[in-house]
């Protein structure tokens, strides 16, 4: 079952839950996020981040990758990415891969 009340940090390994779908809309030529009763329109960078959310990569890995690609300060990227992901998580559009604690 999808975990809730997630606190996104650099060690999180976020992924989109089954009911949240990132899709390129051919008719409108934009990326959309489909969720229950919602259609969101993420910008290019948000799309890039969300495509990295595979439940395997950690947020730290994503930040490293983006900092290198955009030659930007790692700290600024980390703040932006975590803020964005936390906002999605609070709305239930992001979940987290978790180790089995059993």
């Amino acid at each position: 079952m999808a975990s809730r009340n997630i606190s996104v940090s650099e060690t999180s390994r976020p992924k989109l839950p089954r009911h949240t779908k990132l899709k390129f809309d051919e008719t409108r030529q934009v990326w959309v996020i489909l969720a229950p009763e919602r259609v969101l329109a993420p910008d290019e960078i948000a799309v890039e981040v969300l495509q990295l959310c595979d439940g395997v990569r950690s947020v730290a890995d994503m930040v490293d990758q983006l900092a290198e690609k955009y030659a930007a300060p790692r700290e600024a990227i980390a703040t932006d990415v975590i803020t964005m992901l936390q906002d999605l998580a609070d709305k239930g559009f992001l979940t987290e891969a978790r180790e089995s604690t059993a």
Binding site: D25, P36, D43, T83, D87, D90
Partner: protein
């Protein structure tokens, strides 16, 4: 990046999130774009008899319903048109034997599908088959938080118990769950318990939807209209729960029109983002549109494509944009915020769908309907007219006495 996803623009404003980006129109003269979502009322048959049912009073009979092949063709056309989401609704959508096949077809053509259900006809196998067919979201209606109130409102014994069971299966199958709670004078005292029920059911979303008074609900208005004190209390409870349950349960709140100062942006504006297809295949700007006499609606069984109907039909163009508006809407600074409110409500309350929705404080009729609501809410007429194909059946004394919490409920609502 913080201006977009993390900012407030996309994910906080309600069902119209991010629409500005998706709403591009081809020219400035066009006030509408490609529809985002479509409500499919695949049948009007339903084992429940809720007195506020959103279906029209004149229900479509089973024999007039679109066939499996006709619905599949509709789904394919919708995907081609650029529709992103479909809501399988009714009546009770699972009363159709082909519901799994229809959901599968929606998935096959790339549509995101929601099931809006009373849940009482579902088995675990059927729900599992729907999940396998690609269903993305289940919304279950609840009439209260316990059987005394809930089964009485639904007009069906043991309905509440069954709903709880199906809600649990939904989460066991890892499908997201929305609890839809339709609220009115006779169940608002249960709101704190309904919120807790949604948390206990591990729901993702809760819709606290005050009854909207068209069709069946309009016939039952005197028995359903909340008091203004109840509404103030409700707003307080919802706002508190939204803060307290952030990250656990998302709560959407629909306020009752009659006590509002500004009308709701009904359907996001007539013919702008959404439409509805009736069991018999009529393409409607909203689910209550057939209550407006004098408008002709095209059918998917006609020679026209759905895209043609959306763009060209008289019914869709009649109240599109702002050109049709009389005063006070015409010169109002909010005319593109709410598009004059709800056409069906304007028709029901003023006899002309082209008038300003009386829910708006600027309508000359606003004061009158506010007073009427206040008066009805203070009344003692609690007997329901149940929804059915026979034009409604009045609740018996025996049915009414099922709700043992009723006498107490009226007092509790003020102090709880």
């Amino acid at each position: 990046m913080t201006d977009t996803l993390a900012g407030n623009k996309t994910a906080t404003a309600g069902p119209t999130d991010g629409l500005a980006v998706l709403e591009q129109t081809r020219s400035a003269a066009e006030t509408y774009g490609i529809p985002l979502a479509v409500l499919l009322e695949v049948t009007h048959r339903c084992p429940l008899q809720c007195p506020y049912c959103s279906n029209p009073v004149e229900l479509d009979r089973g024999s007039t319903e679109l066939t499996t092949e006709e619905w599949k063709k509709v789904l394919s056309e919708l995907a081609e048109l650029g529709v992103l989401q479909v809501h399988f609704s009714g009546g009770e959508p699972t009363a159709r034997k082909d519901i799994v096949e229809l959901v599968q077809h929606a998935s096959d053509v790339g549509l995101y599908s929601n099931l809006i259900t009373s849940a009482v006809l579902l088995t675990k196998d059927k729900l599992s088959a729907l999940a396998d067919a690609g269903l993305s979201h289940v919304q279950i209606s609840f009439q209260g938080n316990e059987p005394n109130v809930a089964d009485r409102v639904a007009g069906l014994k043991d309905a509440h118990k069954k709903k709880l069971e199906v809600a649990k299966w939904t989460r066991e199958l890892d499908m997201p769950l929305t609890v839809n709670a339709v609220m009115h004078r006779q169940n608002l005292h249960q709101l704190p318990d309904i919120i807790q029920m949604a948390v206990d059911l591990d729901a993702d979303r809760l819709e606290v939807a005050n009854v909207q008074y068209y069709g069946w609900a309009l016939k039952n208005r005197a028995a359903l209209m909340p008091t203004i004190e109840q509404i103030e209390e409700t707003s307080r409870i919802v706002e508190d729960a939204q803060v307290r349950l952030k990250g656990t349960l998302a709560i959407d709140y629909v306020v009752p029109d009659y006590y509002a100062l500004r009308p709701k942006k009904c359907m996001g504006g007539w013919g702008r983002q959404f439409f509805n297809i009736s069991p018999a295949g009529k393409v409607l700007p909203c689910h209550a549109a057939e209550s407006i006499t004098g408008l002709e609606f095209e059918s998917v069984r006609s020679n026209h494509s759905i895209a043609w109907i959306w763009q060209n039909s008289e019914a869709f163009n009649r109240y599109r944009g702002t050109g049709w508006m009389p005063e006070p809407c015409k010169s109002c600074e909010f005319r593109e915020d709410d598009f004059g409110g709800c056409r069906c409500q304007a028709f029901a309350l003023t006899g002309d769908a082209g008038n300003t929705d009386p829910a708006c404080a600027l309508s000359p009729r606003h004061e009158e309907i506010f007073k009427q609501a206040e008066q009805e809410s203070a009344g003692t007429q609690n007997r329901f007219l149940y929804r059915n194909f026979a034009g409604g059946t009045l609740e018996t004394d025996e049915e009414k006495s099922q709700d043992k919490s009723q006498d107490k409920s009226q007092d509790k609502s003020h102090g709880a």
